[in-house]
């Protein structure tokens, strides 16, 4: 059953106890974790880079997560010991074992001039993933928060389909055959591009755009028409309802190479856009494919969620 796309609790972080920091959930390249909402993504790894996420609050990097696939189970204690010896030599500080790390994490803690630095590692047997995380505590270490963050780490099942991608305010579910091709995060504009490995595969782009009150001069329909490349001919346009919001769809096509054109192929482009008033963002989905039929529909499992809570930025960071 498809879950309601506007249900604010699904795909969210675990409910937090009263007085505790509001948590957010990030799912990237198969790894999911909860983190305080005030720790925002400062760095995210693209498709051809080693998997990595870095979260920062207003002043400091707070959490750095790296993961990679191994062929066999590593000796975590040995790894941490090696790291402990090397760091101890470089920084000339005492490095202790992390007291009571949540199972199966192994960790060490180092005193820094203005706080503590915690290095932890664990191995996900099912995915053969080694996950390393560094938590930086500028003032005092919050054991409860650290435990909540580390306990929340989950690796998606190897054959999970559809797959969840959730980061930087954008949350989508998509067929597993679509792999991340490009990821861009400009100010107020998050763009993810997906492709399958097949020949003449469809290309899917999902965008989330901020501050539409400034760049959206006319109607959303006019803006969507303006997004159509000049060489594309309009095939049809109409209204759609997405997550309870009124949006617009547009189908267009363009000629491809002369030989492919003779064989009846054309570049078909289908796009949708809607504005989520509670978030104040415009969502834009574009699907393009070289094919014979002049019709194109979005992948069945694609679900783009909106209506997420707008963060209260005046709340001070934990």
């Amino acid at each position: 059953m498809r879950r309601s796309a506007t249900d604010p609790t699904h795909h969210g972080a675990a409910p937090h106890p009263p007085g505790a920091a509001r948590m957010d959930r990030t799912c990237w390249r198969g790894l999911a974790l909860d983190h305080p909402a005030a720790w925002e993504l400062a760095r995210i790894s693209g498709p051809n880079e080693p998997a990595r996420l870095t979260f920062s609050d207003r002043r400091y990097h707070r959490l750095d997560v790296k993961w990679l696939q191994l062929t066999r189970k590593p000796n975590l204690d040995g790894m941490l010991d090696k790291h402990r010896r090397r760091t101890s030599k470089q920084t000339r500080t005492e490095i202790r074992d992390l007291p009571n790390p949540p199972d199966p994490w192994h960790g060490i803690v180092r005193d820094a001039p203005d706080g503590q630095v915690v290095h932890v590692a664990r191995f996900f047997n099912d995915r053969r993933w080694l996950v390393e995380a560094v938590l930086i505590w500028p003032d005092t270490r919050d054991d409860a928060l650290q435990r909540r963050v580390l306990e929340s780490f989950e690796a998606e099942a190897r054959d999970a389909d559809p797959r969840l991608w959730q980061a930087m305010g954008l949350s989508i579910t998509l067929d597993r055959q679509f792999g991340l091709h490009e990821c861009r995060a400009d100010v107020g504009r998050v763009t993810w591009e997906f492709q399958t490995s097949e020949r003449r595969s469809p290309e899917l782009t999902v965008e989330r755009l901020a501050m539409p009150e400034h760049w959206l001069d006319g109607s959303l329909r006019d803006w969507l028409r303006g997004q159509k490349p000049e060489d594309h001919r309009l095939a049809r346009e109409g209204l759609v309802h997405v997550n309870g919001h009124r949006g617009y769809e547009l189908l267009s096509w363009a000629k491809v190479t002369p030989i492919a054109s003779l064989r009846g192929y054309k570049r078909v482009r289908y796009e949708q856009a809607w504005q989520c008033p509670s978030e104040g963002r415009v969502y834009h989905i574009v699907l393009t494919q070289i094919r014979r039929q002049a019709e194109l529909t979005l992948p069945g499992a694609l679900e783009v969620r909106c209506c997420r809570d707008v963060p209260d930025v005046v709340t001070s960071a934990p």
């Binding site: 207003r58 002043r59 400091y60 107020g188 901020a210 930025v313």
Partner: protein, 132 residues
């Protein structure tokens, strides 16, 4: 070893690079001498008087033209940020206010506002005063 001019510049840059904490705590002051002309779309044109350089005297001034004012055009969000630079708010408060108005996260607003404040500072519209 003799330091190159580039090394000196890099060293000076490193010395003047403030940590995020100090930048967020700094206060932004608007240039009181500037003139603001409103646009209908919420933007504005700002004119800032310039000091005539001491070396710009005849006959050099006959060759190099000197403009008495610098003009900068701002869109509506740019004007909002300029108005928030009132000499009381810190950079952090300006970012918070901008983020709340435009439903942005703190980091989204921080990147755009600090970059914009840097440009305003380079053009002489705003001064950022930090505390020790």
């Amino acid at each position: 070893m003799k330091r190159s001019r580039r090394d000196n510049r890099a060293s000076a840059k490193a010395k003047t690079a403030y940590p995020a904490e100090q930048l967020l705590a700094a206060v932004a002051y608007r240039n009181e001498a500037m003139e603001v002309h409103d646009f209908r779309d919420g933007g504005c044109r700002v004119r800032v008087p310039l000091n005539r350089p001491k070396w710009l005297v005849p006959p050099i001034s006959w060759i190099i033209p000197f403009s008495s004012h610098r003009q900068v055009e701002l869109d509506a969000p740019g004007r909002e940020v300029l108005e928030l630079c009132d000499g009381r708010r810190t950079v952090e408060e300006i970012i918070e206010k901008f983020a709340a108005v435009h439903k942005l996260t703190f980091r989204e607003a921080q990147l755009s506002v600090t970059t914009f404040l840097k440009q305003l500072t380079q053009r002489g519209l705003v001064a950022i005063v930090g505390t020790k």
